[in-house]
């Protein structure tokens, strides 16, 4: 089962650091798994923890939130606030029955193309190991209907 399982991962990347870091990874021709779907946001402080809950409830297998290193925020304080929020949200999600490794928050700067490819690789591997999101059923039933349509 886990061999054929390709996790779906959503990555919220801050425009000023992590998104540029992902760009750098690309232009430097570093390879990283294709499982991550990137959403560009202005700042890690923009990523309301409810985005994460909604993404998971709607069937994503893992969510990553990447932002500027502390002290480097383009908006001075966005990542400090994100840090506090995710410290709580992470523990709350864990408590409500989701595996710790389904959410990943880290800091990746614009020059850290290598770090970006590394964190994506290791996070994808972790999610692959824990398997599909148990809340995914609903999203999948929709896909069945769709296959019926196209056949």
């Amino acid at each position: 089962m886990s061999e054929s399982f390709e996790p779906k991962i959503v990555g919220f990347l801050c425009n000023w650091c992590s998104y540029a870091g992902a760009d750098l990874a690309g232009t430097s021709r570093m390879s990283y798994p294709q499982n991550v779907r990137i959403i560009r946001v202005p700042c890690s402080g923009r990523v309301d923890p409810l985005f994460v809950v909604k993404t998971l409830i709607d069937g994503a297998d893992g969510v990553m939130v990447l932002g500027c290193h502390p002290g480097d925020c383009h908006y001075q304080q966005g990542n400090y606030i994100a840090q506090r929020r995710y410290s709580i949200m992470h523990r709350l999600l864990e408590f409500s029955g989701l595996e710790t490794d389904r959410l990943f928050v880290d800091w990746v700067s614009a020059s850290e193309g290598k770090k970006f490819s590394e964190v994506v690789t290791s996070f994808t591997e972790k999610v692959r190991n824990i398997g599909p999101n148990p809340l995914r059923k609903k999203a999948e039933s929709g896909i069945d209907v769709l296959e019926e349509v196209s056949s």
Partner: protein, 336 residues
Amino acid sequence: MKVISQEQLNLWLADLLKQTVVVAPIEKHGKIQYQEINSISQIVWDFTRPELPPRNWVIPMTEPILFIEQGPTTVLKQPDLPHEKILFGLRPCDSRSFKVLDALFWDKEPADPQYARHRQALTLIGLACPEMWDSCFCTVVGGAPDDTEGLDILLTRIDDGFAVQAITEKGQALVSGLDLLQWSGVPADPSEARGLPKLHESAEWAAVFKDVFWKELSHACLSCRVCSFVCPTCRCYDVRDEVIAICPNGKVYERLRAWDTCTSMGYRRIAGGHNPRETQVKRLKNRFYCKFMYYPEDFGVLGCVGCGRCIDACPAGIDILEVVEKVDLKLAQAQI
């Protein structure tokens, strides 16, 4: 009257369970609930009334009423036909609630297609109440603990088994194969005269519409949805088209219907943000007027069956029977 013994009844139910889906009161999470059963042993026989009403079997809490497949062409699909079901162990107030819902959804054209599909698939077997419990007031709204309204079959517990009354042809057909004993007795009347208030005709309610009493009553109301969600006759719903899948050649939507209620804040909000029922008092008053005035005037039946669930469930202690009493008092005062 015919009687059936407990053993005979169990065998009969086991037989029915092999042929069709049976819904009966069972204990789940420490609460009595109407649920689909797998075995007869799950059925609870001594209970007051289940926590939630049986309307879930005609208007489910959530249900897709249409699938919309939008691609090069748009295809509309109805959901699968509901399975035939037997609702066993209904309290007479609950079975009466089907009559109330039918008046709106089924009796008059145009019928609600999804409701009709559910309703046609149902057979209702009632279990008369042995007594009237604390918050019960079915006799006030025209019912009785051994009322047969809406039922196909009514069972009443007697000393050694159950008295069987087949009310409809459907019910008669169902019991016709059974070898039942004849019984000459009459079940005891469980109705109680305990000084319950008098319910006034719908037309009379108009006179107290502006009374200050409603304002006092509504202070404590939290504007939650408990009273309507435990009500067997509250039937308001919300409909929304929600995307369930996106693919290169189109999108699939489901048209969801889910319970909603006039007691919640956003229910009546309209485009532009205006809310004609913005205050607690307007929302709470609407619930009572809907039951005792608007519904009877529009559909000919009272919108309340007197089960008393809302009395027990309300976190703020708002008591529908107190409202009826107060209206009675106010109208009596007005006459003097």
